[in-house]
């Protein structure tokens, strides 16, 4: 069981569905991005301030396993856990259908810190995220 530290509830919008009447796969990546950004805002960490100092986390790798498709009108919950491996931050991001808590998607997003556009350890970033790493 993951130790989730953040969750965000959203609802499928019809324009996110494709010819098959289910959410187009690329939209799950949008959901995951939005959930990460909302998590980061919720922590109060100042990424804008880090950015001004040239420090930016960058997504290096994404993997997603699609378990149950979401349909028009479905509400769903994006849950998130954060781990650290070397200099990489690993976001465990799973999506559940709200009605029955059925697993929709298992996602893993790896982010690496960059300083002035180059891969590098950032003490400032590590300090900001330390309280949230599980």
């Amino acid at each position: 069981m993951e130790k989730y530290i953040h969750e965000l509830t959203l609802k499928v919008r019809d324009y996110e569905c494709d010819i098959q009447g289910i959410v187009n796969n690329a939209n799950y990546q949008h959901y995951l991005e939005h959930a990460r950004h909302e998590f980061l805002l919720s922590t109060g960490t100042s990424f804008a301030k880090l950015h001004e100092e040239g420090v930016d986390p960058v997504v290096a790798r994404i993997s997603m396993a699609f378990k149950t498709p979401l349909k028009s009108g479905d509400e769903f919950v994006c849950r998130l856990a954060l781990k650290k491996e070397g200099i990489r931050y690993i976001f465990i991001q799973d999506i559940f259908r709200k009605a029955d808590d059925k697993l929709v998607l298992k996602g893993v997003v790896e982010a690496v810190p960059t300083v002035n556009g180059r891969l590098a350890r950032s003490e400032a970033l590590d300090e900001l995220l330390a309280p949230f790493v599980g």
Copy 2:
């Protein structure tokens, strides 16, 4: 008949189609934007340079009449004419299905010049676009 001065041929991508199997309306706005940008690039006008001088054209109004829906696999042609009314630039942007030249969409996009973020006539912009106004 419009005097079109630019055309761009594109092909529907399946992820642009919605539950009804036709292109979702918002994607036509994407097509029109891409066609305008490709037109501007083709003119050799330096919008990047204008931007550095604080001059930016901004879309103020869009209207679209949907005539025939595009479907998965359809190729289509975006045709463009440019007019000027006062300080506004009016892009006439019509889309035709390639297979039979059937009218898909009639669009009108109004752009206004801004200088340092404020609505204002820009001689530099007027000079750049003058050769293309019909």
Copy 3:
């Protein structure tokens, strides 16, 4: 002043913003579509049932005036009024920034009824929407 009969509050997602750091214009069309569909769901009208009988409202025309751009993190309210002109349904759809109720966008969306894919008056549709026409 419009007599709005429905409102929906949403929040800008970062992936909806473009190079200029503001919401890309096509996303406003997504917001309007989602607001219309949520309105229709809220009325309890059975569009699925109408659809089974071959009756579908189709968007024929959209016009949008862009007043104030939304930015990353902004919350906004989509307000909707419904009018009828001949067989056309006119959705008045305005968007306001939540923080200060500033007008973001004025939109007008015209829908026409189709019966078995052809433009036609539908008594069933008229009856369903009658209570909401202002």
Copy 4:
């Protein structure tokens, strides 16, 4: 070195770029989907016919490693190889920047056959794709 069997050249559209001026990650998933569908069309395999018989390949897993970001105006080439592991089809999908053939993205997309909505081996599908498996 992968033995690519299909390639598709596309160009970045400005609306695909985000606040950072680079292509938003979710759009790469769109590029990969479009490239897969164009490959399938190019093979002449009749997926529509398979679909009528209840046979559909479904994406079960996607992983992407982001190497070099694409920017506004960049042209890029989507290259594809196909492998088979058990009943799964593995699409190796790599994207290269056209100007210098620099690697942009390494992607792996796993699809599984479904028959009448349930995971199942499909001889018809296997026969259709056999010539393309590397």
